[in-house]
Amino acid sequence: MRISTSQLYQQSANAILDQQAKLAKTQQQVSSGMRITSPADDPVGAVQALDLNAVLAQTKLYQENAGAARDRLRLEEGTLTGVTDLLQRARELAVQGNNAPLSNSDRASLASELRERLNELVGLANTRDANGEYLFSGHQSRTAPFSRNASGAVTYGGDQGGRYLQIGPAVQVVVGDSGSEVFQAIRNGNGTFVTAAGANSGSGVIDPGSVSGTFVSDTYTIAFTQVLPSDPITYSVTGAVSGVVVPAGTAYTSGAAMTFNGVKTGVSGTPANGDTFTVSPSANQSIFTTLQNLINVLGTPAGSPASQANLNNGINRSLKDIDQSLDHILETRARIGARLNALDSQSDMNDAFALQLQETLSKVQDLDYAEAVTRMQQQLTGLQAAQQAFAKVEQLSLFNYL
């Protein structure tokens, strides 16, 4: 084949340009560490990298959310630990107050400590997080959840909403409980029914009772009768809806069990004629009310057998209520613990997923340095060869010999 002289030069120049272009590409790859420097290098890989980066960014967000959720749940957990301690102290005080040898003034001092505790509890219930948001006011996180009204009762100003955070593609975790749920939605009595004494003149003390079988929801009145002091004490139980469940004239024995419609309770001491006790279905009672009731009971002077019985009845009931509250707070703490566990396992999964994504991403877009450096060396050699070839060919001309 004939070769024209200009073609010879052009070919050499093209070869050098080609080698330089390839070298520049490799150099760009090596200096950026990326295999794909523009989507045209590998359209599929580029889009994959785009997707992977987006998922990676999302996973990072989930981890941030998980961190925020963990902080909030730990704060709630810490606050509720305080509430538990406080309730245990209140229980000790109640037990002390139930002990006969105490004088009225001793009980008054117990009551005044409890008053402080109650204030402390309101403070705990109004805990704020680092952002200044109230922990227990539901959605109304800028509104203090608990405040005292004109009559001194603690009322709730928040709502029943809960905040969720996204910690996984399809996983949301609740990062708070409303004050209503934590401090208010607590069944009083034994959780099913509550026993109470009327304005009695005898020394009858009613047992908080327990559920035996299925409780038939109703308000029952236990009425005592002893027309003459020499008469035996008898009682009857009447339900507001159920009617008579224990007929009148049933003999009373102090401390003996009274069982009806799923209720198992008992009265001890000596009830007077006309004394009544009620058994009614449990209703919600806030911890504040529970403590306030205890304060009221302890603050009422006791001397006569009737007032002593009133005291005992009140404290018994408060003890039961406090136990309910303690159980409830513990349950809530267990729920928080479970959430923290779920959070940690999701967080671990996110970490593992992110690592896996990183690996895939690295495979898709990162450069294999060994391969690239080898390639660069080859291209350098190629370029040098092309340049040398040009230098040699350039000297060849017949005119040099004429």
Partner: protein, 645 residues
Amino acid sequence: MLGIGVSGLMAFQRALNTTGHNISNANTEGYSRQRVELAARTPQYAANGYIGSGVQVDTVRRMYDEFLTLQLRASTASHGQLESYYGFAGQIDNMLADARTGLAPAVDAFFGATHALASDPTSTPAREVLLSEANALADRFHYLDRRLADVESGVNAQIKTTVAEINDLASAIAGVNRQIVLAPGQGSDPPPNDLLDQRDQLIRRLAERVTVTTVAQDDGALNVFIGNGQTLVMGATAQSLSAVANQYQATRCEVGYAAGATSVNISSQISGGTLGGLLAFRGEVLDATRNALGRVAIGLSATFSAQHALGQDLNGTLGGNFFSAIDATSPKARASASNTGGATIAVTVSNAAALTASDYLLQFAGGVYTVTRLSDTATVYSGAAFPGTIASEGLSLALAGAPAAGDRFLIQPTRLAAQDFAGAISDPSKVAAAAPIRTREATDAAGLPTNFGTGKISAGSVSNTTNLPLAGNITLTFNSTLNQFTVVGGPGGTLAYNPATEGGGKQFTFAAYGGITFTLSGTPANGDSFVIDNNTNGVGDNRNALELAGLQTKLTLGGGTASYGDVYGQLVADVGGRTHSADINRNAQKVLLDQSIAAREAVSGVNLDEEAAALVHFQQAYQAAAQAISIANSAFETLLAAVRR
């Protein structure tokens, strides 16, 4: 003998001249080396035979192969097209997926801020960050669109320049044609070699700009055609092209061809060369990219705003649009410049999920409106009534005025959307992170829940804003005898709920009241009630923010098959793929072009070594001829000397 010697001298001088000409033009582009064809002169008849009478120059031949020239021309046109296509596509390609300039990082950052808002809805800084990320996202859309618009004006400018260059080349070719026709030496006469080379070179330069076909005439002229046989050069006259405005959009350049008094748009018939590459790039890549980007813009703004409107801001009012309503303002219907009716069409997006990235052509002819989707030329509407809403395409059209028969409108639903993308909120407290309603168990005055049963109500969600905010609380009170809830407020009536069979959860929706949807579960006691009310003071509520953050991965576009990221990824893949294949084809075409050049050079190129040898060769022949004259002279001298005395 003297005559013979002189004929040799003349011939070899000519040969030396030609060799010198070859050497001088060794680097002239398009030059074909020339060779002197020598032939023995007609011999003289003598009694004892024919006596040679010397040499003569038959012709100066151009070493030329018609086929190789045509091949080179074709390769040049293909390579020119791919080169300009790749050059522009590469610019866009780099921009779209770059970590600094691409859209994906801005979208990720924006949704990151949405998540941050969800985790801390009362925080003003989180809201500020969201708004500034929204602005950054808008800036990114604007930046990308501005760059695409810049590329488009670059394309327009280059079309104009290229058309002007084509016109210059065409008249130059016509000029050379005239010279060739006038030049003596046609038919069997020696051809005007250098003029022919010059014309071939001009045509090759023309082929760099557009694919041409040529037809040789008997008189030596070459007629040049482009497109579908539009004459560019006819003999000695050149027809000129012009850059004309697109019929729908005056700022868009098309290639015009004068047909009588008017110019016809022949853009669609142009292929090959720089011009073909520009037009193909604009049609396949640029328009598609702007449309696809606009589709993401409309999809994101419409769906995000729609969800935002279902929320409640820090002030307790319903959230409005988060982004400005570009689904209503950006789509454009452009009337053709040749329309005779006075109709105008307004276009809005009725459903962002169904929206495509295609343009549409609406034609009114014979009392029938036809709407064609230009991406696949499918007819999406045809009927005597004006289309109105085309649900399958997510478009809504409104006609003003009356169209005349033959009127056409180009509908561009997404072309300008990216440039119009903008946030609609500047006050951080207006970001609607909360849901507008909340649910609760009934409570007493102290806020104490008063229900006895285990019934629960879910948090509830809304799907529209009808009758929101609620005029009053909606209270559901359970009747255990009838197993139903009595609804007071809102829609009223009763809701059947059987705790025994439906205690696992039953969902209810109040369609006419914000589409409030909630689930009741458990066993409520008789008289237990639940309350649905306005989310007053619900500043710590993040339910709507969670919904907004969830939109990032929700399949909201493409008829519910793709997320924003998917649509954008599709765009990147599409442009990347086209650029990639343009690059591969360009490289392949470059090899073909190099081969064509090599093949032509093998025949027509000047080799200086060969010419050096020819120089020596002809110089020696010349010297020998001179020697023959010298011998003739001395023979004559000898004769004279012999007879002088």
